[in-house]
């Protein structure tokens, strides 16, 4: 596809260099040409796309076009589009038709964007590679045999291959940031509560957030501004008055060196990261070493809280009102047959783990302890954010592995070490790729800001991006 940014498309549409219809045709062809990457699970229906093309063309003709009007996009298959299939990459929902639009989809449609296809992902967003998709993994856009990351792997791939200039993913423990890093694109996880979760198939309700994949920080900001906002349908979404951003001009970036120096941290990633730190200095930022002692336990906290919430959220999949259904002699047997046959290994594992930490006799020691310990993370962040405006860390301690290589679930979990603390604290974070490579894979940084500090991320992110030119 010729265009690589939202403003480029906007300009081309305004000056009639291309029509919305032709742009959609080109985009569809681009997506189809990359079928081997298995980034998408299906196209949205002709009716939906046609209606949006006409709507976008009208907005353009009336001079009412916004930045996303007429811009095609891809949406992770755990975000509901009314009347369209939504599978969450699970056999449980293989034939499920969404009965309403996610709020973010309503906002994109009202802005005139054109959702074209639904992206592959790890089943029910559980995983870091798309290898847990019930419909097969996606492939890394740079090194085909490698994973693209996950769980929003497909969404990252379609932007990395430039089939679309933006896509939506979701991030519960790193599922936007890590695939953004593995694929070499920008990925944003907003502050918890900034983007509505209504219509996002729930994984862990206190951790999930929807966010964009783009080529540029500016485009991530554009998409974020369209999808963010208080939603009466999501009780955890915040009023703008409750979202008080930091007021200081960002000047100092904190580097939690002892946290970054994880056992298992790839030295090559560390070396590239050091060069990124120099880029920040060249961009005019001061660096400061900081300590975040509570972060050492963040992964343990996450793999208690997340499975607990997962086990609760997965309870609705019983084959009664929707989804895969296999009848037994009793309701209990029907639930067991339906669930066992259609939920994948990782999903079942997390349900069992979550059930354990919530069960009588273990609830206090595990779930309650971990949930309360989240305050330790927030306190550490509040303390360091008095002296620094943002933090910078890597996205992953390991490079993208070969599809099928990592068999041990715990080793996959350990690779989430740099992303989960962000969700546990609820703060926003932004992945920005570098122009350097590590064994062909893209380098990247992860910027973390205080709650409601998206503007800090965008400011520093853009400055860092400029250093990559």
């Amino acid at each position: 596809m010729a265009y690589t940014s939202i403003p480029e498309i906007h300009e081309a549409l305004l000056t009639k260099k291309i029509s919305v219809r032709d742009l959609v045709t080109e985009t569809r062809a681009a997506l189809q040409s990359h079928e081997s990457y298995h980034a998408i699970l299906g196209f949205y229906s002709d009716v939906l796309v046609e209606n949006q093309i006409i709507f976008a063309e009208n907005l353009l003709a009336e001079g009412k076009a916004g930045p996303l009007t007429g811009v095609p996009c891809v949406i992770k298959d755990n975000i509901l589009v009314k009347g369209e299939t939504a599978t969450a990459a699970s056999q449980m929902l293989e034939h499920y038709t969404a009965t309403y639009n996610a709020t973010v989809v309503t906002k994109l449609l009202e802005a005139g964007a054109i959702p074209l296809a639904r992206a592959n992902m790890d089943e029910f967003a559980m995983g870091s590679s798309t290898e847990n998709s019930a419909f097969g993994p996606s492939h890394n856009p740079v090194v085909f045999e490698a994973v693209p990351g996950g769980s929003s792997g497909g969404s990252a791939v379609t932007v990395a291959l430039n089939d679309v200039v933006f896509s939506l993913g979701s991030d519960t423990g790193g599922s936007i940031r890590q695939p953004a890093a593995f694929c070499g694109v920008v990925g944003l996880k907003p502050t918890y509560g900034h983007v509505s979760r209504s219509g996002l198939i729930a994984m862990a309700s206190s951790l999930d957030q929807i966010g964009p994949f783009t080529h540029t920080v500016s485009d991530a900001e554009t998409v974020y501004k369209v999808i963010a906002g208080k939603d009466p349908l999501d009780a955890t979404s915040l009023e703008s008055s409750e979202c008080v951003p930091p007021t200081r001009k960002p000047q100092v970036v904190g580097v939690p060196r002892s946290f970054i120096a994880q056992e298992g941290m790839d030295a090559r990633i560390m070396a590239e990261f050091e060069q990124s730190l120099q880029d920040l200095v060249s961009a005019g930022y001061a660096l400061k070493d900081v300590e975040l002692p509570s972060f050492d336990k963040a992964l343990a906290m996450y793999y208690i809280v997340c499975p607990a919430e997962v086990s609760s959220n997965m309870g609705r999949y019983d084959g009664v009102r929707y989804g895969f259904s296999k009848a037994g002699a009793t309701p209990k047997e029907s639930f067991e047959l339906s669930r066992t046959a259609s939920l994948g290994k990782e999903v079942q594992r997390r349900i069992l783990l979550g059930t354990y930490v919530l069960s009588s006799g273990y609830y206090d020691a595990y779930y309650r302890k971990a949930e309360l310990a989240r305050a330790n993370l927030r306190a550490d962040l509040a303390r360091v954010f008095e002296e620094v405006d943002a933090l910078v860390i890597p996205n992953s301690p390991v490079l993208p592995w070969k599809i099928g290589e990592k068999m041990d679930p715990l080793s996959v979990y350990l690779a989430d070490v740099f992303t989960v603390p962000v969700n546990m604290a609820g703060v926003p974070a932004l992945t920005v790729p570098t122009k350097r490579t590590i064994e062909s894979f893209p380098g990247s940084i992860q910027l973390i800001a205080p709650h409601h500090g998206e503007d800090v991320l965008f400011t520093i992110g853009k400055a860092f991006e400029n250093m990559q030119k």
Binding site: T99, A327, L352, A379
Partner: protein, 92 residues
């Protein structure tokens, strides 16, 4: 630690999932090793939390839409229906 097969069977029962054979052996080991890792939470000393922006939100206990307008679309999702009811296996 590895969980016992009894423990896995108990958890599976609560979760309405059937675990048997090879899966039983695998899951006892996997869930056990993950629990080993997360047990490090024991060492965390809790602090008194400061309140954040989030608080309980409820909506008014009022009717939000005309009855029946979603019925057809919702029933279309269910595997077994009877009139405007979702049908389930006999409970009692």
């Amino acid at each position: 630690m590895s969980l016992t097969h009894e423990e896995i069977t108990y958890l599976a029962g609560l979760s309405r999932i059937k675990v048997e054979g090879e899966d039983m052996v695998r899951l006892a080991e996997e869930v056990g090793s993950i629990l080993d890792y997360v047990s490090s939470i024991n060492a965390v000393e809790l602090i008194t939390p400061t309140p954040d922006a989030h608080h309980n939100v409820v909506r008014a206990d009022a009717i939000t839409h005309e009855g029946g307008i979603h019925t057809e679309r919702l029933l279309a999702c269910a595997p077994l229906t009877n009139g405007s009811y979702v049908q389930v296996a006999k409970v009692l």
